[in-house]
Amino acid sequence: MIVKVDGLVKRYGRLVALDYLNFEVKEGEIFGLLGPNGSGKTTAINCILSLLKYDKGTIEIFGKKMGPDKYDIKRDIGIIMQNVAVFDELTVYENIYYFCSLYINDKEKIKEYTEEAISFVSLEEYKKFYPKKLSGGLLRRLNIACGIVHKPKLIILDEPTVAVDPQSRNKILEGIKLLNEQGATVIYTSHYMEEVEQICDKIAIIDKGKVVAQGTKDELKAMISIGEKITIETYQITEEQIMIIRELPNVISVIYDNNQLEIKSGRGKNNLLQVLHYMENNKIAFGKVFTQLPTLNDVFLEITGKELRD
């Protein structure tokens, strides 16, 4: 086990930020912590890193109890914070070199690792640039390079793609995959479910400081009753007809809004066919039709009763 969090409690006065949080991260995993803003993701990360005091619980990293003076554990951790943590007065190269030299003593090795990190985040052309001259996306890449330059075994990324353009976001996500393939275990926190679905092997959904569900994305989706979401564009449907669709077998809910009929069905076959068949028989004209498998947002919605983005 690379990380084991057991019964973690963190309170800010009366507010319980972490409420007996439990999860484990195995070696080689990309572990996603998914939850809305304020759910306790960053607090959990700060506790894991011994930046923050906590009230109860234990945290083990690499099988050892973590603490502020556990330098041997810290040596193998790389952290990429939500806010860019670099020196404005140093160039791209100098920043990466500086953070590498906090971990490694060998000058040649630092140079080698710095070059590798620059190449990993594709900042070769910007080596001599100062951070203020970089765009938001490039700055995020520099932030990542500073966090991974010393080749850590455990990389913790706390919302690394906030306010990043799609191109840089893809680059960052590809990079994380690559680091994982190279042997690093990754903890990735985000409130973007698409990102977590895209890269994480195992996901813990967190709300109000508690893990409300965890497993692989398929395991999580299997936990809920919705099997399929059908969306049909239609301009002429009556309340009575909507009621009838709602009574069809396996239909869980029907919402008609903005000329879109959204039907959530349980697991099973022919969900779409039976709806289309009813509409044809009742001469209800319709346009575009598409179906979707449930998302992590549906999982979150069913478990907590609210949207992930609330």
Binding site: L51, L52, P68, V84, Y97, G147
Partner: protein, 380 residues
């Protein structure tokens, strides 16, 4: 690698334009301002004898005669008296003042009073002179209450005997009130290292900045990194002190005596204490960086005020009313160290000041260490 960390930090500090302005340019500008503001005010070469009137309003002949003697004895230079005293009654004096024949008139009494028509340099000189006279009279009175025999033991002679006061003073050192301003300014500059100390400790605290958080997660010992960063800050600060000393000495012609090693020692100790004041505020004051900065600057500026940087009489006022403040005000201790180097041949006073400064530094160093070691934060 430690040297590289030191070099990188130094580069960061020198590239921070705000820091450079406040550390390098501001003290030089302030010194220049002091020079133009004060040097002319206290320069004796431009002064001319001031016409005043003296009105006797009490029966106490002794007191009146003493005051007359003092007024007539005051000199701008060996052959130029400070005052041209005209003796008259109050109506005449008032008329002479109205017609600008005199600058001020003094009415003797239990408490001598000075009357002026306008504000100005000459009026200020008369007023300051009388304030000094009153202070001296008060001192004599206090001694006589406790020891009436002192008068027969030559108290007045002692008070009037300027030579006896100047025997400890170096032969080549002329008492110069302007120096207090410049020494206080230099002392304040040394103590302003507090801002560097505050910045360094902010940079390595996980709850203060993302960089601090990243540094806290790294395997380098926080104290080791803080020491490296403080060394870089000290280097940068030392540069600013050298610049301001050179500017004062070479451009403004301010004398610091002839004891360069001791002057440097006082600057080093003052700067070290400044650094640790900043570190202590950064560690123990759990407020925003803005509030921490304001507290640090206030401590130094208030210390500078009490040491006479804005108002030279404050130094004497503190010495008279709250003497303990002299020994706990770091700005005063540093400026007094400069002053004692300039005025005295022996190092007793200098050594006392430096010892107190070193004790303060060690205390703040320990207090900061206790606050920083193995620290995790209640909130980030």
């Amino acid at each position: 690698m430690l040297f590289h960390l030191y070099k990188s930090r130094l580069k960061c500090l020198f590239k921070n334009k705000e820091n450079i302005f406040w550390s390098y340019l501001f003290p030089v500008a302030l010194a220049a301002l002091f020079y133009f503001a004060f040097t002319n005010v206290y320069s004796s070469s431009d002064l001319k004898t001031i016409n005043i009137a003296f009105v006797q309003d009490v029966e106490d002949e002794n007191a009146t005669n003493l005051m007359k003697e003092v007024l007539e004895g005051a000199k701008i230079s060996d052959d130029l008296p400070l005052f041209n005293v005209k003796y008259s009654d109050i109506q005449e004096a008032s008329k002479a003042l109205e017609e600008d024949e005199i600058i001020a008139y003094i009415v003797s009494g239990e408490e001598a009073k000075v009357y002026v028509k306008n504000n100005g340099l000459k009026q200020t000189i008369v007023k300051s002179f009388m304030d000094s006279y009153k202070r001296a009279a008060y001192t004599i009175q206090s001694i006589l209450i406790k020891n009436p025999a002192a008068i027969s033991q030559g108290l007045l002679d002692d008070v009037m005997d300027y030579k006896s006061y100047t025997t400890e003073v170096k032969k080549d050192a002329e008492p110069d009130v302007v120096l207090i301003y410049f020494y206080s300014l230099l002392a304040m500059c040394c103590l302003m290292a507090a801002n560097w100390g505050l910045e360094e400790v902010t940079n390595i605290q996980g709850n203060r900045s993302s960089r601090g958080a990243r540094i806290n997660v790294s395997p380098i010992h926080k104290m080791k990194l803080l020491l490296i960063n403080m060394l870089a800050a000290f280097t940068s600060h030392a540069g600013s002190i050298v610049l301001v000393i050179l500017f004062m000495k070479k451009v403004l012609g301010i004398s610091f005596g002839n004891n360069l090693p001791h002057l440097i020692l006082a600057c080093i100790v003052g700067s070290l204490l400044g650094l640790f004041i900043g570190v202590t505020v950064g560690v123990w004051v759990n407020k925003s960086s803005g509030v921490q900065g304001a507290i640090t600057t206030s401590i130094i500026m208030f210390g500078a005020f009490l040491s006479g940087m804005m108002f030279v009489d404050m130094k004497y006022l503190v010495a008279k009313k709250v003497p303990i403040l002299q020994y706990i005000n770091p700005v005063n201790l540093v400026s007094d160290s400069f002053y004692s180097l300039y005025y005295y041949d022996d190092f007793n006073r200098f050594n006392l000041n430096i010892t107190i400064l070193l004790i303060m530094t060690v205390i703040l160093c320990v207090v900061s260490y206790l606050g920083l070691r193995r620290r995790t934060y209640a909130s980030i």
